[in-house]
Amino acid sequence: MDDGGALRVGPGSAGAEPGPACYGRGGTEPTVTDANVVLGYIGPDASLGGDLELDVDAAHDALAALADEAGLDDALAAARGVYRVANANMTRAVRRVTVERGHDPRRFALVAFGGAGPMHAGALAADLDVDTVVVPRACGVLSAYGLLAADEKHDAARTHQVALAEADPDAVAAVYDDLVGDVLADIADPDAASVTRAADCRYAGQSFEQTVSVSEFDPDTVAERFHAAHESAHGYRLDDPVEVVTLRASATVERDPLDVAYAGRDDPVTGTREAFFDGAYRETTVYDREALAPGAELGGPAVLDGRESTVVVPPVWTGRVTPDGTVVLERGDRE
């Protein structure tokens, strides 16, 4: 609760130690995770990726204390409040990068990742009028997965400010040699790397540059590429002197796509539990996410327990599993 009597969620976090009350590690402040436990989205026997044993009673106690302070009826009311406020904060963040930049969120799918993202994504999508939610298989460690899947790339740059017409090709070549040496230095097999060179140029007088690629440093070619790049970015070219500001080199080693074979197992349904949707606790099917086979389809309300995350499928949403294990949620109440 803040000074103005409003319920605030974040930006402070309980972290992993002591963590949410439900971790049973001494935390007593109610957290979003505790609210998700009370709402039934996180099951009592979830391990949250480790060998943690959830203390459901501690989550209830923490939210009951919050309810007292806020003048709410009970722990459930407090949990609903925390969940709604957290969703409102996330909705605003999504709006900031879509609506406020002139992008209509209704034309996009929402990608949910992080351990908790898929628990909120359905509710956020409903707020934003988004019809599709994509939950990648490695959603709990998506950034790390991306780091493994991406090409290896090294960049180096050095300021070398000179009028293009007066640039000494030998001096430029010497700088490029240094830069190429730098970018290849940390690559295990330099022969496997492809190297590119570029120059940041501008009309002498401007303060902002365009980057143009350079193969062999020839002032006329660089000038023409700059004029073209400027025309493409700004809509015009000038007959004015061009200057070089920065020289750049990059080395890239392509990496093979990761092998992401995914099979699933038989009998993914592990049971049911009470989870809160649309104003009431409802009997909700619980799946083992890792057991869902490619092509599997399911309807909400459902909860998909996984090692890295929990996916909440609200009523009227459906889910299907793609060949690589991605879960795609779609809203079923509209064409």
């Binding site: 002139g102 209509d104 007088g205 401007q206 303060s207 700004h234 809509g235």
Partner: protein, 555 residues
């Protein structure tokens, strides 16, 4: 709220698209420009108007451009512009405000029809006239202030009209820089056309027109609702400029603001007749100041467009300081008179909305122009920040632009790289903020040594009448100008030799609330920061030197 047939999400998306269109225009201009006043200080604005000439979205860079852009569009529409035209203008008596602010207006054609107008306005570092930098403190006629451009086609049928461009460049001191800045402005307008065409392709012309209506309706309703919350009544205030650059006589500005239900009338009866010097301000300046203050006392989140202005009536006596007849000199009106109009309208509304009105800010732009008269010489122009007035909720800000301008400073590195100038000192002025429960912001001192023979023009205010405290707060410190250590008048033109140092001490902001109610911890923090106590840097009592380099010199 709105009668238009457009769903709320689409409206919000399209409104943001209009605003991002205006912002992108500004980026094209800033990235293409050569002069530091545009590319570093961002002394420019860009806007989108609908086909009826109503302001729809403005990239809010400079408040004094708020009211000026609609004037420019109204004027150009009288010339029946055709697709492919770009009109350039700066005539203060025909859509402009002062000569350095060069405006371009172009119809945006979609499928051969005019779907809207793109407008860009930038303060050019030189437009000719009697002094380099075109901000002559002693001008008596607009003819002395530079090249006067009534609405003129700089681009016709999509091509630059080279003889107009040549005429223009023949009348300015740094033609190479001007050509590039003008070209960047044309490119900004072209970008608006490209973006609006894409929006029409995406949404259809009908939906875009409906969105224009809805955006304007929305702002109008929001402003009306805010005005209804203000107590009805007539609120008055009076203040004065410290001379017109010819004499030091005070030039009074008077206002009566009448709030009546959901509309407001701002009447400047009692304001001085137009003056012999250059602080006359074309009508658009008073409009900008009034619109700005109303934005401040209502919800500043309301999108600024024509709808905000519909509930406002502004009455200005003909032939007065605020609606002068040609050929009045006007260059100071846009930069200094505009500040005093802002102060006086704020002061009037302090009684109506005390919780939203700050104490007086520095009330000047401290215009410093330095240039040489040789060949393809240089023209440096800068406005210098000072103290903002303390607010009902907190201290004023130190070393910022207030009121009608919102520029960045020219970074010392950029300034020294671009011009034969060296910055000796750039520091806050301790003790310059007015005391109070909330302290006024600090003024700054900026000392620049000229490394070649040059002409210096200073156009400043609040050197005699201090920025006012409010609700029991003390006044801020007045400013002071010096050339080689000797105090010089607020408005000065001087030819100087290489090695001369010009120092500008800018005013501090007024305080808010009784000083005895100031939190002792805040006082201790100010002393620890050197903002209060220690060496007093006030006019007449200064003990520091202009060439002392100050380690904390970034304002």
């Amino acid at each position: 709220m709105t009668t238009s047939e457009i769903d709320p999400v689409t409206l919000e998306v399209v409104r943001n698209q209009f605003e991002s269109l205006a912002e992108e225009m500004g980026q094209v201009l800033i990235r293409g420009a050569y002069s530091p006043n545009i590319k570093e200080r961002e002394d420019c604005s860009t806007a989108l108007f609908d086909s009826a000439g109503r302001l729809v979205a403005q990239a809010e860079h400079i408040p004094v451009h708020l009211g000026a852009m609609p004037e420019a569009v109204d004027t150009v529409r009288d010339y029946d512009p055709e697709p492919g035209d770009v009109y350039v203008l700066n005539d203060p008596f025909e859509g402009g405000t002062h000569l350095p602010d060069v405006t371009m207006v172009s119809p945006i054609s979609v499928g051969g029809e005019i779907a809207g107008y793109a407008v860009s306005r930038a303060h050019h570092a030189d437009v000719g006239g009697m002094t380099p930098g075109s901000m002559p403190a002693g001008a008596r006629e607009v003819f002395q202030e530079g090249l006067r451009l009534p609405p003129t086609r700089l681009v016709a049928g999509g091509d630059v009209v080279e003889d107009v461009m040549d005429l223009l460049l023949a009348n300015v001191r740094s033609p190479g820089e001007r050509r590039a800045d003008l070209r960047a402005q044309i490119a900004a307008n072209d970008r608006a056309e490209e973006r609006l065409r894409a929006l029409v392709a995406d949404h259809g012309r009908d939906e875009i027109d409906a969105a224009f209506d809805a955006v304007v309706d929305y702002s109008r309703e929001r402003v009306r609702a805010e005005l209804r919350d203000l107590p009805d009544g007539t609120y008055r205030a009076r203040d004065a400029l410290e001379g017109d650059g010819i004499t030091d006589d005070d030039v009074p500005i008077e206002v009566a603001v009448t709030v009546d239900g959901e509309s407001v009338t701002v009447d400047f009866a009692g304001t001085a007749e137009q003056v012999a010097g250059n602080v006359n301000a074309p009508l658009a300046v008073a409009k900008s100041a009034v619109y700005f203050v109303l934005r401040c006392v209502t919800d500043p989140e309301i999108p600024p467009n024509q709808g905000c202005y519909d509930p406002v009536t502004i009455d200005v006596p003909d032939g007065s300081l605020l609606d002068p007849d040609p050929p009045a000199a006007v260059v100071g009106g846009n930069v200094e008179t505009s500040q005093r109009v802002t102060d006086v309208v704020f002061a009037a509304l302090a009684d109506a909305v005390p919780e939203r009105v700050p104490a007086g800010g520095q009330g000047t732009m401290n215009n410093l122009t330095i240039g040489d008269r040789t060949g393809d010489g240089f023209a440096y122009y800068e406005t210098i920040g000072g103290g903002s007035g303390a607010r009902p909720q907190g201290d004023g800000l130190d070393g910022v632009q207030v009121g009608m301008t919102n520029t960045l400073n020219t970074p010392v590195e950029a300034l020294e790289n671009e011009y034969p100038l060296r910055v000796e000192k750039y520091a806050f002025r301790p003790n310059s903020g007015g005391d109070g429960e909330h302290r006024g912001g600090l003024g700054v001192v900026r000392s620049v040594t000229v490394q070649t023979d040059a002409t210096v023009s200073l156009l400043t205010e609040r050197r005699r009448h201090a920025p006012r405290g409010l609700a029991g707060g003390a006044d801020g410190a007045t400013g002071e100008n010096r050339i080689d250590g000797e105090p010089v008048p607020a408005k000065t033109i001087r030819d100087v030799t290489a090695g001369t140092t010009v120092s500008v001490r800018t005013p501090g902001g007024g305080g808010h609330g009784p000083p005895e109610e100031r939190d002792p911890d805040a006082r201790a923090a100010d002393e620890a920061d050197g903002k209060v106590g220690g060496t007093d840097d006030v006019p007449g009592g200064t003990t520091d030197t202009d060439d002392a380099t100050n380690a904390d010199g970034d304002a």
